[in-house]
Every structure is written in C-alpha cells, then in structure tokens.
Symmetry: D2
Amino acid sequence: MTSVKGHAHHGLNLDLAMRADAKRRLQSIRGHVEGILRMLEEDGAYCVDVLKQIKAVEGALGRVGDLVLRSHLSEHVVTAAARGDESRMVDELMELLKYR
Amino acid sequence: MTSVKGHAHHGLNLDLAMRADAKRRLQSIRGHVEGILRMLEEDGAYCVDVLKQIKAVEGALGRVGDLVLRSHLSEHVVTAAARGDESRMVDELMELLKYR
Amino acid sequence: MTSVKGHAHHGLNLDLAMRADAKRRLQSIRGHVEGILRMLEEDGAYCVDVLKQIKAVEGALGRVGDLVLRSHLSEHVVTAAARGDESRMVDELMELLKYR
Amino acid sequence: MTSVKGHAHHGLNLDLAMRADAKRRLQSIRGHVEGILRMLEEDGAYCVDVLKQIKAVEGALGRVGDLVLRSHLSEHVVTAAARGDESRMVDELMELLKYR
C-alpha cells in the first residue's frame, strides 16, 4: 500500500496533524477493546455492561471517522472540481455514508 | 444463570458459548484496529481507505453487540416479569438503544 | 389487519395511552413532511436546509419508534417466558434492531 | 446554479431533476405515514408491525436524504474551493452527518 511517489492512489494523503490525532485515538480504542476482552474473562460480567462498553468504542471510532472525514472533505473533496475527479470523490463518499 | 459470589450485579451473567464467540470476535477487532494504526504510518495512506476500515470495524463491533444483545434478551429480558426487575431491564435497554 | 378475536397476531396489542401519543407525533411528522414538500417548491431551496429537515423528521420518527419499542418491551417482551413465545419475541426484536 | 433573486442563501439551489424525484418520494412517505396512522386506529395493531413500518419510513427518508446529499456534493461541495466557501461547506456537512 506504500509507494514512493504518485503512490497507489493519487496524492490524496492524510493530513499529518490529523493523522497523529487519529493514531492516539485508535491506540486508546485498542486499549478499550482489550478492556472488554478482560471483562469477558470475569465470572460476573453482565451483558448490559459489555454492551455499554461496545457502544462507547463505537462512539470513539465514530469520532476518529469524523476526524478523517472532515480532513478528507477539507483537503480533497472541496477541491475535486479543480482536479477533475469529482465523480469519483462523490461516489466514494456516498458509498461510505451508506448506513452510517 | 445465578451464581453465589463473584459478580457485582444480580446473577445475570453472560452465557458461556456466546462469551467465547464474543472474545474471538473482539480479538479480531483488536487486530483490525492495529491494522488501521499501521495504515496511518504509511506515507500514501488515503483517507477513504482509512474510513472504509473504520466502517468495517464498526460493523464487526455491531455484530459483537448483536450477539451479546440477543443473549441478553433470551436469557434475561424475556424472564424479567418472573423475576420482577422488568422496569430496570426496559430502562437499561432503552438507554442502550438510543442512537444505536 | 383487524379481527374480532385471537386476531391476526396473538393479543399483543398496542397500549392505549402510548397509541394516542404515537398518533399525535405521527400527525406532526406528516405535517413536517408536507413542509419539506413545500420547501421543494421554492426557487431558492438550499440542499442543506432540506437535509436538516429530513434529519429532523428522522429524529421525530425515531422518537415514535422508541415509544412503541418501550411499550413493546414492557408489555410483551418481559413477559415472554411466562407466555412461552420468547424465541419469537427475540427474533423479531433482533430483526428490527438491525441497522437501527 | 446561480440565480438573481429569490433565494436566501447563495445561489446554491436544488438541482431540478433531483427535486422532482425527491418530491415523488416525499409524497409516498407522507402516504406511508398516513398508513401508520390508520394502523394505530385498529384494535389489533401489533407493536412490531408498527415498528417495522416506522423503520420502512426511516429507510425511505434516508433514501431521499441520500439523493439530496449526492446532489449537494456534486453540485456544490466539489466546487467549493473555486467559490471560496469551503469551510462553510465542510462545517455544514459535518453537522449534518453527526449521528447520521
């Protein structure tokens, strides 16, 4: 998936500051998933507590998604007409937002 | 479903077979999150690819949630009237299903 | 869909007070949909305003759904074990909550 | 896309063909809501049948939303950099997509 230049895609890479933020959040999400795994080891784990934790992780993932989406909109989508790849940009977004 | 000690709640514990399945799925989710973290290290990572992976993890988490929810409904909710904790069961579920 | 006794379903009917509340809300939702239809007649209708109104109607529908769901849980699901139709109750709920 | 007078915003109006399609769909949604209102009049209305109809209307509304969103992305968002209103376009979209 890496390449030196003109890479796999089209030069539409992740913004660096956003990338660092997304990484921190995903590391915390990984820790949260490990916490749920530990919960499942406990004798007395209660379904609703597990469901609440799963929902919290979904919320955290949604916030990473929003971060990446905002960056994608700002960096790539609003400039699509100038680049000439607007139909690709729109199709990709619509596919992503389905059932979101 | 009841047990003598070791749980904070009220004997409404996770079903064992479901618990094993949920653990396998959460381990795979942890691996998927680590895969996204590796993607973010790559120079050429493209926003939409990251968003697709986040969406896939959300889907996988939703499936674990469905597993736990189905087990909770079957094991605990349908028997609530007999136990007498129906208003607690209903309030908990409604809170969980908000914005789901 | 009506029937005199033992009706189409199984005597699991809508709670009356909840039903009145749901009707009031659905009448308001119908009015809101008509408002969006009028918006679409206007020359200057802006996409984002239409999308906001659609989202508001979705929220209002979700609130009617929550009302009916809470009533269903309280009146029918928590008593399922006593009636003996728990697997039907659970399957129906899981089907409804998919992608919710 | 531009027009001289008659709109509050900034010349970013709804595409005409999409508007006709959205109107047809919203008229059908209004009819569907009226159908649910009629269901609620019936003695034997069953919660789960009402919930299924509400979910169907939510799906139909989501499809109108997708139609308007796709048109907005294609007509207004991909050209935002050229117009210079990209931060407004992005903020509006992010607000709309919250909890979507």
